[in-house]
C-alpha cells in the first residue's frame, strides 16, 4: 500500500536494527548498536539543510501516520459490518458501512497524496541547496585538494549521493516513524481483539529477526565487495576509452577485453552470492509469517466454530494482519536505505569538511612592507620553500630557498630540467598553492596578505594544459579581462596570440567550444588560452610553456606579437626551448628546487654548464646545422656554441644520430 518501490535487494541487510529502533529486546550485538548510533549521529548533520523545511516534513509525517491509521480502521469497519448489519440483514446498515469505507478510502488516498505534495518541492529544494553548497565549496577548496580527488569521485557526491539523501528524507525517515506507529497500533488492535491470535501472529517475529541478524553481516560484506568490483570494472572501462589510441596502437584490445571479462565474471560471481543470501532471507521472510497467518486462521476457525469468536472479528483480524505485512517487511529495506543515506552523508561531508583556501588576515592590510620601496617593485620571491601538503614525511621540498626578483616590466624565463619544479613555482604566484615558508611580493605587497580576488586580478596565467570551458570562444578569452572589456580587446588578444582562426569558425567568436562544443586542436586551444592570459593587459603575467603545441611558423608569429605585450608587463615564463627563452630579458635556471643561476640567455650559455646542456639539444641556436653550406650535420655539430661546454652524451648523440 505504501508508495515505495520495495527494495528487496537490500531489504534485510539492516533488519537487526529494527530491533534497536522499535524496542529494546536483546539480540543485537554491541557492534551494530554502536553502528546504529553513529548512523544517527551522521544523519543529524543533515539538520541545517532540513531545518528550513522542518515544518513541511513533520506535517507530512503526521499526515502519513494519520493515513496509516485510517488504513487500520478499515478492517474494523468490515468487522462492524459483518457482525452487525450483515448478520442482522440490515440493508441500511450495509449502506452506512460502505459509506464509511468510501470516506475512509478517500481520506487515505487524499492523505497519502497530500504527504507527497507537501514534501515534493521542499525536498527538491534541499537536494538542490546541498548541491549548490557542494559546488560552491569545491570551487574554493585548495588546488591541492583537487589534485588528490578525481572529479568522478566529487561528481558522484554531487549526484548519486544527494539523490540518495533526498530519497532518505522522502521515505525512510518518515516511514520508519510511520511504520513503527502503524505496527504498534496494529498489534494493539489485534491483541485487543483476541490476544491468543495476536500472539500467534507475532510468533515469527523472533526467528525472522534472528535470521536477518545472521545474514545481515554477510550480506553487507558481499554488497560492499560487489560495489568495489563495480568500481574496478569502471576503471577498466574508463582507461580503455581514454587510452584507446595506445590500446589500438599496440593491438592490445584482446588482452583488455580479457581483463574486462575476468573482472565482470568475478562481479557476476559476487552478485550471485548476494542473490543466494537474499533468496535465503526471503525464503524465511515469506514462509514464516505465512505459516503464522495459517495457524491463526486454523485457530480462529476453531474459535469461530466454538462460538468464542465472531466471524467478523476473524475477518478483521486477518485483514489487519495483512495490512501490517508491508510495514513489517519494509523496515528492513528502510533501514538499509537509512544506512546508505548515512554513508552518502559521510561522503558528502568528507568534502564539505575540507578546509577552503584560508581567508586573508585583515590586519595584514596595513603591513609595513606595503609601502614598498623601489627595490621591492615587481615580482619578488623571498626565501620561498614549498612542499606539497600531502607529501610523505621527510621527502625533500619541491622548492627551497627561492630568491628571485622579476623587476617591473621585465620578463623572466624559468628554465630547468623535467621535474625541477618550474610549474609548481608558477602556481605559487596566483596562490593556487600556498608557500610553505618565505614570501612572495608583488610591488612590495606580500601576496598572502592580499585578498585572492585582488591578487588573481593582478596576475594572469596561461597553463601548460590549455583548458577551455563550455562557452563561446569570445567568452573564453574575455574571462581574462574585467567586465568592461569588449570587442576591441578580444580582437587585440586574438591577434597577439595568432588566434585569428577564431573568426573563421562556423559562428566566428560566438562558436561554442569546450566539452559541449566544437573540439579544437591542442595548438588552437593553446593560442586561445594565451589570448585569455593577455586580454586583460595584466600587471603580472605567468606563462607555463605557452608555445609548446605550436608549429614553427605560428610560434614565430606569436613570439613577435608577444614581445610587444611583454614589453609592458612583468612576466614569468616557463620555457623549454631557446626560442621561448629569447622572449625574456633574463633567465632563471631552476635546478632540483633551487635557483641555480640568473642571467641573460647568452651569459648563462657561456657560464653555466647545466643551462648550456638544457639549451644545447637539437634546438641549439645553431642555424648552421642544416645550412646548405654545411650539409654534413656531424661537422655542424662541432661548430655549435654548445660545443663550448660539451657533455659526453651530447657528443655521443651527435655521432650516433647519423649512423
Amino acid at each position: 500500500m505504501m508508495p515505495t518501490k520495495p527494495a528487496p535487494a537490500d531489504a534485510e541487510d539492516r533488519t537487526d536494527h529494527a530491533d534497536d529502533h522499535s524496542d529494546d529486546r536483546s539480540g543485537h550485538s554491541h557492534r551494530s548498536d554502536h553502528a546504529e548510533r553513529s548512523t544517527v549521529r551522521t544523519l543529524l548533520r543533515l539538520w541545517p539543510y532540513v531545518r528550513p523545511v522542518r515544518v513541511r516534513l513533520s506535517t507530512a509525517a503526521a499526515v502519513a501516520i494519520l493515513a496509516s491509521c485510517v488504513g487500520l480502521v478499515i478492517p474494523l469497519v468490515l468487522k462492524w459490518m459483518v457482525d452487525g448489519p450483515v448478520a442482522d440483514r440490515d440493508p441500511a446498515g450495509v449502506w452506512l458501512g460502505a459509506l464509511y469505507l468510501l470516506l475512509l478510502g478517500l481520506a487515505e488516498a487524499g492523505l497519502f497524496g497530500l504527504r507527497r505534495w507537501l514534501v515534493a518541492r521542499p525536498l527538491a529544494g534541499v537536494e538542490a541547496g546541498m548541491r549548490a553548497d557542494l559546488y560552491r565549496h569545491l570551487q574554493r577548496l585548495p588546488v591541492a585538494f583537487h589534485d588528490r580527488w578525481a572529479s568522478g569521485q566529487l561528481l558522484s557526491r554531487g549526484t548519486t549521493d544527494l539523490m540518495l539523501l533526498r530519497m532518505f528524507l522522502a521515505f525512510p525517515m518518515t516511514f520508519l516513524l510511520v511504520n513503527g506507529v502503524t505496527i504498534l497500533v496494529g498489534v494493539i488492535i489485534m491483541l485487543l481483539q483476541d490476544w491468543t491470535l495476536g500472539l500467534v501472529i507475532l510468533g515469527p517475529a523472533v526467528p525472522v529477526v534472528v535470521t536477518c541478524v545472521v545474514f545481515e553481516k554477510r550480506y553487507a560484506d558481499v554488497a560492499r565487495l560487489a560495489q568495489d568490483q563495480v568500481g574496478d570494472l569502471t576503471t577498466v572501462v574508463e582507461e580503455s576509452v581514454l587510452g584507446i589510441r595506445i590500446i589500438k596502437g599496440f593491438g592490445r584490445h584482446r588482452s583488455q577485453a580479457r581483463a574486462f571479462r575476468e573482472l565482470s565474471l568475478t562481479l557476476r560471481g559476487t552478485e550471485l552470492r548476494k542473490a543466494r543470501l537474499l533468496s535465503a532471507i526471503w525464503g524465511v521472510i515469506v514462509t514464516l509469517p505465512e505459516l503464522a497467518i495459517g495457524a491463526a486462521l486454523v485457530l480462529g476457525t476453531v474459535q469461530v466454530a466454538d462460538g468464542e469468536l465472531s466471524a467478523g472479528t476473524l475477518v478483521a483480524f486477518l485483514s489487519t494482519a495483512l495490512a501490517l505485512r508491508w510495514p513489517i517487511d519494509s523496515i528492513g529495506f528502510l533501514l538499509a536505505m537509512t544506512q546508505e543515506a548515512a554513508t552518502a552523508t559521510e561522503r558528502y561531508f568528507e568534502v564539505m569538511d575540507a578546509e577552503p583556501e584560508s581567508g586573508t588576515p585583515e590586519e595584514a592590510a596595513g603591513h609595513p612592507e606595503d609601502t614598498g620601496n623601489a627595490g621591492n617593485a615587481g615580482l619578488r620571491f623571498h626565501r620561498v620553500c614549498f612542499r606539497y601538503p600531502d607529501a610523505p614525511e621527510g621527502s625533500p621540498p619541491v622548492l627551497q630557498h627561492i630568491d628571485l626578483h622579476v623587476r617591473p616590466g621585465e620578463s623572466m624565463a624559468l628554465v630547468g630540467a623535467t621535474g625541477s619544479g618550474k610549474t609548481t613555482l608558477t602556481a605559487l604566484v596566483p596562490r593556487l598553492h600556498e608557500v610553505t615558508s618565505g614570501r612572495i611580493t608583488l610591488d612590495g605587497r606580500d601576496i598572502s596578505t592580499m585578498p585572492r580576488e585582488t591578487l588573481r586580478a593582478l596576475v594572469a596565467v596561461a597553463f601548460e594544459e590549455p583548458t577551455l570551458f563550455s562557452a563561446s570562444v569570445g567568452e573564453n578569452v574575455l574571462m581574462g579581462a574585467d567586465d568592461r572589456a569588449g570587442r576591441s580587446e578580444l580582437d587585440r588578444a586574438l591577434a597577439v596570440a595568432q588566434a585569428d582562426f577564431a573568426h573563421t569558425l562556423p559562428h566566428g567568436t560566438d562558436t561554442q567550444v569546450g566539452e559541449q562544443g566544437l573540439s579544437l586542436s591542442g595548438g588552437q586551444r593553446q593560442r586561445l588560452a594565451l589570448a585569455r592570459a593577455v586580454v586583460g593587459r595584466p600587471r603580472f603575467l605567468v606563462l607555463d610553456d605557452p608555445l609548446s603545441a605550436l608549429d614553427v611558423h605560428t610560434e614565430a608569429a606569436v613570439e613577435a606579437a608577444l614581445r610587444q605585450v611583454l614589453a609592458e608587463t612583468t612576466a614569468l615564463i616557463v620555457a623549454h626551448r631557446p626560442s621561448t627563452v629569447l622572449l625574456a630579458d633574463r633567465v632563471a635556471l631552476l635546478s632540483a628546487g633551487r635557483v641555480a643561476a640568473v642571467g641573460t640567455h647568452h651569459e648563462l650559455l657561456r657560464t653555466n654548464a647545466e643551462y648550456a646542456w638544457l639549451m644545447s639539444g637539437a634546438d641549439t641556436p645553431d642555424p648552421g646545422t642544416l645550412a646548405p653550406d654545411n650539409p654534413d650535420p656531424d661537422t655542424a655539430a662541432a661548430d655549435t656554441p654548445a660545443a663550448d661546454t660539451p657533455t659526453p652524451e651530447i657528443a655521443d648523440g651527435r655521432e650516433e644520430a647519423h649512423l
Binding site: M1, T4, K5, P6, V86, V94, A98, L102, R121, A124, G125, A128, A132, Y135, R136, G158, T159, T234, L242, I244, I246, G249, H253, A257, S264, E271, S279, G283, V286, T287, E290, G294, V298, T301, A305, L314, T418, G419, A460, F463, E464, T467, F469, F501, T504, P506, S519, G522, T554, E555, R577, S579, G617, D619, P623, T625, L626, E649, G653, A657
Partner: protein, 621 residues
Amino acid sequence: MTAPTTPAPPTADDDGPDTPGSPPVDDAFDRDVLPTPPGATAALLRSLLAPMKARVALTTVLLLLQQAAVQAGPLLVAYAIDSAVPAFRRADHGPLIAVAAAYLLCGVASGGLQYAFIGASARVNQDVLLDLRGRIFRHAQALSVDFHERYTSGRLISRSTTDVESLRELLNEGLQELVTVILSFVYISAMLLWLDLGLGAVAVASFVPLYALVRMYRRRAGRVFTVRSTAIAAVIVKFVETMNGIRPVRAFRREAVNDAEFRALNHRHERINGDAMLEMARYVICSRVVANIAVAGIVLWGAYRVADGTLALGVLAAAVLYLRRLYDPIDRLGMFLNSYQSAAASLEKIAGLLAQTPSVPEPSAPRELPALESAYPGREVVFEGVRFAYRTGGEVLPRFDLTLPAGQTVAVVGATGAGKSTLAKLLARFYDPSDGRVLLDGVDLRDLAVPELRRGVVMVTQESFLFSGTVAENIAIGRPDATREDIERAAKAIGAHDFISALPDGYDTDVRKRGGRISAGQRQLVAFARALLADPAVLILDEATSSLDVPGERAVQRAMSTVLRGRTAVVIAHRLSTVEIADRVLVMEHGRIVEDGTPAELVAGTGRFADLHRAWRDSLS
C-alpha cells in the same frame, strides 16, 4: 547490430580543425544521439535473452507457481469460514485439517519458490548483464579511432556504467515487480470471478480507469523525465568541467560567475525534479481513489448480498482480502514505469552504440607478413593511389602515391592541418583510405589481423595516458611477455631509467589515476619505452616529443638513432630539430606532399622547407 549504419564522419581530426569548413557543426554526435535503426532496441533485448530461453521459461514458471501459492491464502480463508466452521461444528475436523495442510503447503511453497525464483532470475539477470557489458566493451574497442574522436569518452563511459546500471535496476527489481504485479492482477481477477462472477466483474471493470491512469501517468511522467535527464546532464557537465579546470577557474576568478551559472542550472533541475514528484503524487491520489471506490463498491454489493443470503460470508471475506492485495501494487506500478522509462532510454542509447559498425573492420581471411629478407626489422611501406576523405566529403588527402623503402627514417613536416597526422593514422590503420591501398611489404594493411598488424606498425602519439598499475606494467603494454630486464633496457635506452628509479617504488611505483604527479614529459618517455619494447617493423612518432625538454628530446633522438637503425620510421614533428635524424623529409601542405628529398637537398633548395628552415633559424637568432 542488425542494421549497420554509416558512421558519421569525424568532425575534427587532430590536425584537421584549422580548416573550419569540414566539421559539420550540428550532427548526431553533438546531441548524443546515434542513429538507431528502428527496432534495434527490441532486437538487442531479444538477442540478449535468446541464449537463455530455457532459463527464462524456468524463471517464469517458478514465478507463476509462487504467485499461485501466495494467492491461494484468501481462498482458504473463504473455505475455512464457509465450510470448515460448519463442519467443525458438526465435529467433522476433516475440512479444517485440509485448510491447515493446504495453508502449510502454500506457505512453504511460496517461501521455497521465492527462494528458487530469486536464485534463477539472478542467474538470468547476471548473464544478460555480463553479455551486455562484454558486448559494449568489445564493440567500443573494435570501433575505430575516428569514432572515439567524436563520441566523447564521457559518453562512452556512461554507456557502459550508468546505462548498464539502469538496466540492472530494471532487471533486478523492476521486471520481477512488473511480472508479479501482472500475475497477481490476473490471478486475483480470476479468483474473484471464480468466487463470484458479479464481484469479480466489478473488480475487473475498475481496471479500465486504472489502466487509463497508468497510461496518462506514463505519458506525462515520460515528458517530465526526459526534461529532467537533460537538466541533470547539464548540471553534471558544468560540475565536471569546473572541477577538471579548477586551475583556470581559480586563476581567472570564475567562482562567482560559475556559482551563478550553476545555480541557474541547478534550479532548473530542482523545479523539474519537484514536478516529477508532484506528478507521482497526482498519480498516487487518483489511483488510490479509484481503488478505494472500487473496494467500497464491492463491499457494499457483497455485504448486501450476504445480508440477502445470496452470497456466503466467507466469499465476501476472501473478496475483501483479495481486493487489498489487488490494489496494493498500483503505486509500485508507477515506480516500475519510472525505472522502465530510464532503462528503455539507456537501452536505446546502448543499441545505438552497438549499431555503429567499425569503419576499420578486422579481416575475414587474414594474411601474414612475408618473412623478413634481411637481418633488419624494417619493412617497405607503399601508399598506392591512396585518397582520404570524410564520408560527408571534406577531402583531407587527395589521391597520392608514396613508397617508403624498408629501413628509411622519414620526417613529415608541415603546418597544422596539412594532413600529417592523417597520413600517419592511415599507416597505423587507425583509418582506412577512401580509395587505394596501404601496403606493408606488399600486403594490404586491411588483410592483417590485429596482432600481425601491430608486429608490423606501432604508433606513438603525443598523448601520454598512463593506465593504472605500475610503471613497469605500463611499459610492458608494448610487449606483455617482456621480462623486467627487457623493460629496464627499453627505459634506459630512452633515458627514462633515471626518473623511474627515483620514484618511491622504482618500476613498481603505482602511477594511480591518470599519471598522478608524473609530469607530462616523463609520461611521454614511458610511452616511448613502450614503443621500443614493442619492436615493430614500422614505427610512427606523431608529435611524440612535444612535452619533452631539450635534453629529454635529445635523449630520445639519441635512442632513436640506435632504435631506428634498420627500421622503417615516420616521424611527425612541429620542430625541425627532429628532421636531423631523418634520411628523408616530406613537406605537406593542404593534404599534398609538396616537397620530398633529403634534409640537405631541401634546405639547399628554394622550396617551402627552405623557408621553414629559415624561419626556424631566425627564431633562434
